[in-house]
Symmetry: D2
Subunit: 429 residues, 4 copies
């Protein structure tokens, strides 16, 4: 039993090993192999941490060379050559071409560290405790991040997660008839609404875990206006949908807005643990050392990240490739929705993140299992786990996209047939 040791010693909290019950051994770009040599196409990309693929050859080569030369590995926030090179590359390839002038804050290498940091500096600068976030938002598991995360599955009454946060309706949360921006403006402008003026509003422009909900461009612009009007900081959590996922490097580029703070993690480290917070210079009110963290200087991630930025973001070649692939993914999603119209409520997405909302969540669970058996790693999203999502590595080939969707369609078909057979049997009894 290859997974016996996990069952015996690892905490019950383990999750994905239950959805994908095998022992993985190797991986390359958009493909993974288990110990038995079985191959899987990856439509999951480590929940968005592997936008540049598994063991991307250019990245791996650089990391190996760095290790062979005894490059600095761990350095807290000391100055290192690898860190200097990353900053240089990020400024040149990302900030300068987009006319952005953020300061870079390196934090502990998890997304939740980045969110905690953003909440702290926003509260400190504005001198207000309140922070606003959105229905179905997901921002992480540490106490501060959890306080702005909607999904009650991650909460427990005893956690002692503090108040000082308010959740307001995301775009179209109440259907397309109710203008949630008007609601937000009303409660912020009314001294007796009971809602305190927040230091910041924390936003995913595309809610990934929340079910692939894409905020409209006009809605985003109006939200940016509200933040200006009420002197509230706009924090964009681009941990999952940044790093090219939306079709551009940042997910907010499509709306032409500039957040005050941006959090990046997952793929920013080229597959290695790393997080980065971007601050408008006037917000950089930290005292030296006021916010720290042992692994905020993971130099292997700096090396990997620099290669990724130099390779994919030096010009617009990659963005154009993403457009073509995105069109293919959208088409395959539409085919799926058309073919299984009885079971799929709607498809939603943008760039390289797409979801199909099923009417029956139990169906989805069976489909994912079947797809895995057939060689596809794919996951669900949404509070009710009723959305099946495409989140493949950005470097996936068109051939693999097609092969993966073929497996998915076949898996849906198999599950439906099995269900009908099962129902037939039950009816016959």
């Amino acid at each position: 039993m290859p997974l016996e040791i996990f069952n015996q010693y690892e905490s019950e909290v383990r999750g994905y090993i239950r959805s994908f019950p095998t022992l993985f051994a190797k991986s390359k770009m958009a493909e993974i192999w288990d110990v038995d040599g079985k191959r899987y196409i990856d439509f999951f990309a480590g929940a968005g941490a592997l936008n540049y693929g598994h063991n991307n050859p250019k990245i791996n080569a650089a990391v190996i060379e760095y290790l062979q030369n005894d490059g600095i590995g761990h350095a807290l926030d000391m100055g290192t050559v690898a860190k200097r090179d990353f900053i240089t590359s990020f400024v040149k390839n990302i900030l300068k071409p987009r006319n952005l002038d953020y300061k870079l804050q390196f934090v502990g290498p998890t997304g939740t560290n980045a969110i905690e940091t953003a909440l702290k500096i926003a509260r400190k600068v504005k001198g207000r405790k309140q922070v606003m976030s959105f229905t179905n938002g997901f921002h992480g598991m540490s106490m501060g991040s959890l306080s702005i995360t909607g999904n009650s599955f991650y909460h427990d009454d005893s956690y002692g997660v503090p108040g000082y946060t308010t959740q307001v309706p995301f775009h179209n949360y109440l259907g397309d008839k109710v203008d949630t921006i008007a609601y937000l403006r009303k409660i912020l402008g009314d001294d007796s609404s009971g809602t305190e003026l927040p230091a910041a509003i924390v936003l995913e422009t595309i809610q990934a875990e929340g079910g692939i909900n894409v905020a409209g461009v006009d809605w985003l612009k109006s939200l940016r206006e509200i933040c200006y009007d009420f002197d509230i900081l706009l924090v964009v959590d681009d941990i999952q949908v940044g790093n090219g996922r939306s079709g551009n490097f940042f997910s907010f580029e499509r709306a032409g807005i500039q957040p005050d703070i941006v959090t990046l993690s997952k793929s920013i480290g080229g597959g290695h643990p790393m997080s980065l917070v971007l601050l408008k210079p006037e917000l950089d009110k930290w005292s030296p050392g006021e916010h720290s963290g042992t692994f905020r200087g993971n130099n292997l991630a700096f090396v990997a990240a620099t290669v990724a930025l130099d390779t994919y973001w030096a010009d617009d070649t990659f963005v154009k490739e993403l457009q073509l692939k995105s069109q293919l993914v959208e088409k395959r999603m539409q085919d799926l929705a058309f073919r299984f119209a009885d079971h799929i409520r709607e498809i939603r997405g943008l760039g390289m993140i797409w979801g199909a909302e099923f009417k029956d969540p139990e169906l989805i669970s069976a489909i994912c299992s079947q797809a895995f058996a057939d060689g596809l790693v794919i996951e669900t999203a949404g509070a009710a786990d009723d959305v099946i999502k495409f989140l493949g590595p950005l470097i996936i080939t068109e051939a693999l996209i097609n092969e993966g969707f073929d497996i998915l369609e076949s898996a849906v078909e198999k599950v439906l047939i099995r269900n009908r057979t099962q129902e037939g049997k039950e009816a016959a009894q």
Copy 2:
């Protein structure tokens, strides 16, 4: 100017780059070199993350080979060969020989993630919100961990850090005449003390950031008793002083006690970002996926960690080496205290963590700068930054220990001479 790009683009929060203002390029075991080839002895070990040294040859070789073979890099909490091997090694080399039967929970690879996890599960299992920690305790920067961290430098009134925590006096906090265990027992046993029964007491058996305060063995045993008597979970934060720092793998072994929960990070990943929470099996009440984190499956760290465990903890050779080195460090600290008795109030420490408390914190700052100029990386501790601390890699040679202490003694001497000269000049004016 090699550091110009940091000054221009990195947040003001950057800290160690100010204490050690150079651009580091390479490192090997207990030595580091900057871009100009200048060599430094490392008495800091990445704040305890580099117990096995920089670019430890055995570890690096294994990591390089793993990358060359396209081993799984990032895998969330799926099953991988590297993770299986780590669990196997940890159970065999660490848990079994010590008769410990913890469950392993892999969490986001920062210490603060581990603490947040421990606080959550403790509160969930006990159904109580309150958590107790100690004066001068340091546990991390995210909201939950910060709520049990003493040093007010890391707090800001606007952070909204929640209550539900109580700080009680550490061993000898009120001098050796006041029994802080008796105080703790009194307020826990008194229904009208105003102190709610906590779910857990979070303890560093040696407070590192707090100023190298070593809890006595009897005090630790009494604390363990109190926790049993009042049905409180004892959480040992071994992030900084675990992984061999105290002379054994865990810092609590010297007291013969078993915590209910142990948090590990820093050196547990063999120099790569990783954290681990150990739970008594009966506390493992998580639902699958209830606590998650993108980088909780950093397989490079698993590979590195497995090598570290197999190399250093398969038998007691390393522990014996540590005893000898520890005696050398203690002797050099005593020499220092004897030679500069007018300036050093006391020395404190155990195993491979030692501190000398100076009467004048400003002196310390100057000494560290001088030592750095002379080729030694050494840092301070304590709320008032009045303790200079030895925290070298555990694999440091006796020769380098001696060379480092020689630099340190010389730096103290230089600073004292400079001060006397300066005072003389001022007096002459």
Copy 3:
């Protein structure tokens, strides 16, 4: 200077003495006289505490006789004849005829004590910390009550008012196009809305301080349904609009609903300090003495209250009188709105509580001052103090209603003329 001693020794927090700057000496039913013998008609009724009028002859006679006989005055929650008689009268005159079977809890004699009590028992019974209240709600000044009070004027960032409360939109808060009940149902039913299931929803069926906002009957019924559907306790705060103010004893009778908890104060004590919490029997989970308070047994209030109940609520005579007076008040309000249509946005109200919302809040302040000079005590409401409100004692005569409204109309006229003259002068300069 009659008020000099107040200016010299009383805290700056004093408020109404600034709006009504005289020294009051005597009062009878709906009239007050100051030390100079000047008479005022009372359209304010002690913010709803004097529904039965000042020095109501029947009440006063009973209280005087009780004092002359050395009846028990203060008794905490011991058994007294006066308390027994009150309970008997309340059950007979109020609960029984309305088929209500609440348990009575006597609490400290302020409204905020009653709300604190309701919040406590609701949280205790349901085991949930969260409580919901409405935009523009007003529930009191102690920490718990303040946490569900909307008006930010009463808040200060340093108060440390806790979270665990959510404010949701009241009826028509977003205009009559947005169904606020649908919004409430949506966020309660959605596990990822970020809004925790509350123990209770606290409601004023007519928001008095909030600007005389009257919830519709259908809205109230739907809210009651929601509370049943989600197992949430419905707490009606009838402190200001109970005791006959709405036309019936309880303000929720018009909707045919039964709250789980009702808070009463202000006029419940017949002019003397008293509060009362009504609990559905199955919610009465208190331990003996778990919630206490020195003045919860103010026996003078019991005596006064018993007279008030026996006099006004033994049959439906009083309710019918209220209907007639209410029609008169409504008519006079309509006249006002018609006559000053350029300045009044709308009138709102029910029973014996009515408000006229002015477009210009500064106008209102001048009108109230003028009315006071002309012998009428009348106050404002609303977050912006833009509503002038009628809140006269319920026992006020039709003659005094007419006289008071005449003064009010005249005051509006005077202020408008003065303003036009002033504008004319400024224009001429």
Copy 4:
């Protein structure tokens, strides 16, 4: 059954009616009579609300006359003759002779309202959320007051009582060997103690509910010094032990210290509901109306209070009487302790508040019941209800003191005999 209606309709929270199960009808000074004409001596004084006795003739006469003249009853914080007279009397009789220059803030007429007010203004003025209180402190039942009340009997995990409070050890809490002032100074002065600097320290100089714990004069002076040194406001809660209970009007006079804020309630209203907060003028930073409350202008209480102040506090006659009575009470307590030395651990007290701590709390319960049967109303104190306390009206005669103590001694004797008999029977079986 005279109490049947209470059992049927009153909440289970009712408490004293269980300890004193009869229906009280009349009362005069220090005596009470039930409906059957049975007489009781009062050693409880309404938990300190009846320092001037039940139906004090002078007070009652003034209140009756006031009612007969239709004096203003309820007036929020408008100016009234009764309120002016009270302020005049309080300034003349209390503040001026003691060289105190407080501003007077009238708040809702319960002690907890006064504490909530003190917490708010302290936090607002200092801009700090943290407040400190003492082990075994009791300050009230609303959320803010409860957060600084020690006794866990009044707490429930679901109440959501907020943090921002720290309980520190009262005088002699850890025995007379541990200097709790030194502990306080240490944690306040240490930036890493984990204890935030509080806005205020809230103190009962004699803890009444907490078990009759009398803070020493030197301890009080040192605490006052600490508050000056750390810029912390000293709030004395004199609700129970003010108004002459300690032998002077304020309980802190014996230490020669001046608090920054003083809370008064209970007997301040001469038996009628009233509370008063005293603020050093520089702390009076309220906006007009920022803190309100319907019954903060209970004019009957002003009338009663003025008579009480003019009668008892115009010169030192009353204080001298209290000294004599206090000596008698102390002597009778000593006699009790001497006679029942096997059962009484110690006696504690000052002025007219004294307690005898029994070794066996169950004994106390039986003694109180026996005493009640024999015509004495007396209550317990302390977290474990192990203290029997004398808290008679201050105007009680020496004859009644002696008669009451005779009943008490006899009750102890009866209970002990009964227990011995019972034990004998059990032993014989």
